[in-house]
């Protein structure tokens, strides 16, 4: 898996919105079909600063057939977010937004015949950041409702644990549990990270 990860700037958001956004918008099943990263990026930073937290927006670049790198995944991770499993104290990283470029679009229009499994890589970034921040790899996320059951299946296949719909959420999350929250505890996170160690 030949990828690079960079910090996201307005240039990356603009490129994604202009080059991939219109193609993704026509794919009805995509939860991110109406996302504008150029709006999301500053908004997420500012909203989380108002909550005294920081975001870490990242871009995943994958190698094209010609040997150059192009943007293939985007994510915005909130640092030091309440851990979703209230039975255990502590904090985690929360994957607020993440998008993987459509593999057919990458192959057909950008000369990338073998796109990597980007969902796993996007989650791995959040896990490694969590481990290095002393959060022991704990992460959480909420599956966007427009992604339907397909998104739930995808996160399950990635190895995340689904929080039971009956489980309480941390009070500061200020949200009803709709059964679409996922998380990784320390053990799951280490297992997922180890699975990609050979590619680092």
């Amino acid at each position: 898996m030949d990828i690079r990860v960079t910090d996201m700037t307005a240039r990356d958001a603009l490129w994604w919105d202009m080059r991939l956004g219109p193609k993704h918008a026509s794919i009805a099943a995509r939860a991110d079909r109406l996302w504008s990263w150029s709006v999301l990026l500053p908004m997420c930073h500012l909203v989380q600063r108002a909550k005294r937290r920081y975001c870490r927006p990242l871009v995943i670049w994958a190698r094209t057939d010609k040997g150059r790198f192009m943007r293939a995944g985007m994510s915005i991770v909130i640092e030091d977010y309440p851990y979703l499993d209230v039975e255990h104290s502590g904090e985690s990283n929360f994957v607020w937004f993440m998008s993987a470029a459509d593999s057919r679009v990458l192959a057909a229009e950008f000369g990338m015949s073998h796109p990597p499994a980007l969902a796993r890589v996007l989650l791995d970034n959040a896990i490694v950041l969590s481990q290095n921040a002393g959060l022991e790899g704990r992460i959480g996320l909420h599956a966007a409702p427009p992604g339907g059951d397909g998104l739930l299946v995808m996160y399950g296949r990635c190895g995340l644990t689904r929080l039971p719909a009956s489980a309480a959420l941390p009070p500061s999350v200020r949200r009803r549990n709709d059964g679409r929250f996922f998380y990784a505890d320390e053990r799951v996170a280490e297992s997922l990270a180890a699975g990609l160690d050979a590619s680092r």
Binding site: S38, H45, A50, W96, H142, R174
Partner: protein, 99 residues
């Protein structure tokens, strides 16, 4: 509020929008964004006419992100870099009498 170059938002309007959004849960904001409604609450309009970056970059041109927590300075730089680059204003350093 329109956060664009021709009609810059007041600081108060920005603070108001951020203050309101910060009362919402992250999952709620995700839903609003996914429904295409975020611009109702945060009507940021990226500057028009900014050139689109090239589709690909060479390996040497990429600055790989640190996997460790960033310094406060680096975090602040990232926040600044989340906004489109503005054309640089020219400032004269002296008054006419000092030229």
């Amino acid at each position: 509020m329109r956060l664009d170059a021709k009609a810059p938002a007041t600081l108060g309007a920005v603070v108001e929008a951020v203050a309101h959004l910060s009362t919402l849960s992250e999952a709620h904001i995700l839903e609003l964004v996914s429904a295409g409604r975020i611009e109702e609450l945060f009507p940021f309009k990226p500057a028009a006419g900014v050139p689109i970056p090239p589709d690909s970059e060479s390996d040497q041109d990429l600055v790989v992100a640190s996997a460790k927590p960033l310094s406060r300075k680096a975090r602040d730089s990232l926040i600044e870099a989340s906004l489109p680059a503005r054309s640089r204003k020219r400032f004269r350093t002296g008054t006419a009498s000092k030229r």
